[in-house]
């Protein structure tokens, strides 16, 4: 392609033990919205880091407008017109919007001028943002706007967006897409990284699919179904979880007026949370990260305790009990963070099986660990959930995200919970493992257990839930039947207090 803005040819980068990118080639034309599609570990991040000058390729070449492009650092990349919005923001909470933007610029104009420019750009692209607001008080969506505007002020020719929607509500996603479409119409090329297939189908006009560091296909995502894209990504046919809707049974878990102060200043306070969970039911809890999901899981798992009657399991008060006492009565949990919370990364799978399996699987006797039994339990989890690992003595941290997640979820399910609480069960997990985990959740409910599934992935919630609710700033919306609910309706439940209008900088913040 001669009219390409950026052309990449045979880019290769190897890390110890893994080839992150293997001869990757593609081209982006001006104004094109180009999706980079692939599972976790497919090499998307490495590729864009090379384009942005953060990582040096081992071989291969890049060309910008036909001239060789070898950025030694992000500064050089920006000088060539490449800008990037990272998945994780690098903003200072204590500074205001304009100050933060000035910090990220190579040659910031005087503050007053900058503030005016910010307002201009934010109005021109429909991104509401007040330059004098303190970043600490902004929502995730607004923080992202700070990053985007910082990029736009540099008049980029290519804008790289790494998983931009993972922290946004559906309404905020819509605003973002309008901005991106406008940019593309003006001739800015956009490289859009995501594994959310519906988004890519809605936004992008070209997609490059990566698998294990190699380009395995290019297509126009609008001409493919989400399933076809997923199968290109995974390289195998996927099966969709299936379930029989059954009448829910009696109430298993009841939470009444759960209020919980955050454990530290960064936590979220839980406010007046009340709900019931029936036998055979999956209750889906949507919400943008940081709205109290971790705190809710901790309150249910027993890591945080409350007044006894706040939480009852089959009528018995459990609020005062610690994690092991709750396990004993059948209330089990799988936290979001696999490494360091649900599992100890440097310990073997056997030891990680003991971590939660001690009580229900009788893995200790008089205080002494029955390592043989622990190993057998770990082996049964590995077998039942198809965990790919050399053996039970492998360190948990050496497993891929999907395999460790299967182990973590499997470890709880094999303990036959009465109620299981899972937080982001398929976060960062490859599509095949995610499907297996969702099926396991459905099977567990079909056997009469109650499951609470906390997730940011709305498609996942629609797939597994009987009823859906959302958590926003520590409050839970009243659950609604999942049948017939729309993504928009969930979005409104989870949007809650955040401003949704397009350009309205004076919006009061609750």
């Amino acid at each position: 392609m001669t009219d390409a803005y950026l052309a990449i040819d045979g880019l290769t980068k190897a890390y110890p033990g893994v080839v992150a990118n293997d001869g990757v080639s593609f081209a982006i034309a001006p104004g094109q919205v180009h999706a980079l599609l692939g599972e976790n570990g497919a090499g998307k991040s490495t590729l864009v880091k090379m384009i942005y000058g953060l990582v040096k390729p081992d071989s291969g070449q890049m060309k910008v407008n036909g001239t060789p492009f070898e950025p030694a650092n992000p500064h050089a990349a920006r000088a060539a017109g490449v800008a990037m919005v990272f998945q994780h923001f690098s903003l200072f909470d204590a500074l205001d919007v304009a100050e933060n933007i000035a910090l990220g610029m190579d040659n910031p104009p005087p503050m007053r001028e900058l503030a005016k420019k910010i307002t201009d750009v934010s109005e021109a692209y429909g991104l509401p943002l007040d330059p004098t607001r303190r970043v600490g008080n902004l929502s995730a969506g607004e923080r992202q706007r700070v990053e985007i505007i910082r990029c736009l002020l540099q008049n980029p020719k290519l804008l790289i967006m790494d998983e931009p929607t993972s922290v946004l509500t559906p309404q905020e996603v819509e605003i973002l897409f309008k901005t991106l479409n406008k940019l593309s119409a003006e001739g800015t090329a956009i490289l859009y990284i995501s594994h959310k297939l519906e988004e890519i189908r809605a936004l992008c006009d070209h997609a490059t699919v990566l698998r294990l560091g190699k380009v395995v296909g290019e297509c126009n995502p609008r001409e493919k179904s989400a399933r076809e894209l997923a199968e290109m990504m995974v390289g195998q046919t996927l099966h969709t979880p299936s379930r029989d809707y059954a009448e829910p049974g009696e109430v298993l878990l009841k939470v009444e007026n759960l209020n919980l102060a955050p454990a530290d200043e960064f936590g979220t306070r839980l406010r007046d949370i009340s709900f019931e969970l029936k036998a055979g039911e999956v209750l889906g809890i949507a919400g943008v990260a940081g709205n109290g999901q971790d705190e809710l899981l901790a309150a249910l798992s027993g890591e945080r305790t409350t007044a006894p009657k706040t939480i009852t399991l089959e009528g018995a008060p459990v609020g005062r009990m610690g994690p092991n006492a709750r396990r004993a009565v059948g209330l089990l949990a799988a936290p979001e963070e696999r490494l360091g919370h649900a599992a100890a990364p440097e310990m073997s799978l056997t030891e990680n099986a003991l971590l939660t399996g001690d009580i229900r699987e009788n893995l200790t006797k008089n205080g002494f660990v029955a390592w043989g039994k622990a190993r057998d339990f770990a082996a049964s989890v590995i077998k039942a959930f198809d965990v790919r690992t050399p053996g039970t003595e492998t360190a948990a941290g050496a497993l891929s995200g999907g395999n460790l997640q299967k182990f973590v979820i499997g470890r709880e399910i094999l303990q036959r919970p009465t109620v299981l609480v899972v937080n982001q069960p398929t976060w960062g997990v490859d599509a095949a493992a995610a499907a297996a985990i969702r099926q396991a959740i459905l099977d567990l409910a079909a056997k009469g257990a109650g499951v609470i599934c906390i997730s940011q992935d709305l498609d996942e919630l629609m797939e597994v839930s009987d009823r859906i609710t959302a958590i926003t700033e520590g409050r839970l919306a009243p659950p609604r039947p999942a049948k017939g609910i729309t993504i928009d309706a969930i979005g409104l439940m989870m949007g809650g207090a955040h401003d949704m209008e397009e350009a309205h900088p004076e919006e009061a913040h609750v």
Binding site: T12, A14, V19, G322, H341, A344, L355, D358, G397, A398
Partner: protein, 365 residues
Amino acid sequence: MSLIRLEKRPAPSRLFSALTPLMAVVATMIAGGIMFAILGANPLEAIRTIFWDPLFDPQFGPYSRPQLLVKAGPLILIATGLALGFRAGIWNIGAEGQYIMGAVVGAGAGLALYPSESPLLFPLMVLAGALGGWAWAMIPAILKTRFGTNEILVSLMLVYVAENILASVSSGLLRNPDGMGFPGSRNFRRDFPAASNTEIIENTGMHWGVVAAFIAVILAYVLMSRHKMGFAIRLAGEAPRAARFAGVSPTRLIIFCLGTAGALAGLAGLFEVTGPAGQISIDFNSGYGFTAIIVAFLGRLNPIGILLAGLLMALTYIGGELAQLMLGMPAAAIQLFQGMLLFFLLAMDVFANYRIRIGTPEVAK
């Protein structure tokens, strides 16, 4: 690209984890040798005097061999207790104070009953010694669990408090009434046999403190590898959130680890003061509580490793004294030599987590 690069290993190398103590000893010998050469001594002779002569020299061996156990005993006993806490991320660096208080309380209990000849007297003193160390360690433990204070600071500062208590009782409360006004308590070995910690086997240095150290090593090994508490300790050290998720109570863990370390240090103090030191005096303690921190890390916080590290450290002590005597080395040079050992051990840890690559990186195709 530079020619020598460090490259992170996918997983820590087990081989190098086991090898680093040996590599650290060799590196210490080389760097120490250079230092001795600068000080004007023959480096080979100095190294031989420190590592070989105490054990095998026909002239000094018979005297210094028993000293090996005498010195290693308290180091191992204290380090074993400290390592439990270190594994859990609980940093008790005040073992010296717990050791002193164990000695003061244990010896005080015995001296209060002077001149009893009951066979129960010594066991009672052992118990009192452990209790003294335990109680002293409970101060940082309770302050930490109740008020969230930093155990590093509190335990360390209590060492200086303990030293002042020691100075006070050795010239006051516990002073030998028949000592003609000199500071220091009655000498247990000379004046009070029923309360003294005698050698079990003549001329081996094997006293009850050494026996206690061996028992502590075995119990600690079983605790860490077989018991739920050992698992909780490791889990809390490696992944504190996972430990809480597994139902491990941080409070109980802090009380257990500090308490055990304190009790073992207290035992070491009691055995020392009633045996090798002989009496409570202002300076009986000789810093075992601090050196034990080095021993704990040199032994990789593993009970068996601590056993070997304690013996090695004792050897450098004895050999160091010999080098002072024979080669006129300053005492500071010997301390520097011991410091090098810890320095190199920590530095060598790099090889467990990284590998060295020489030449430009190859491109995988």
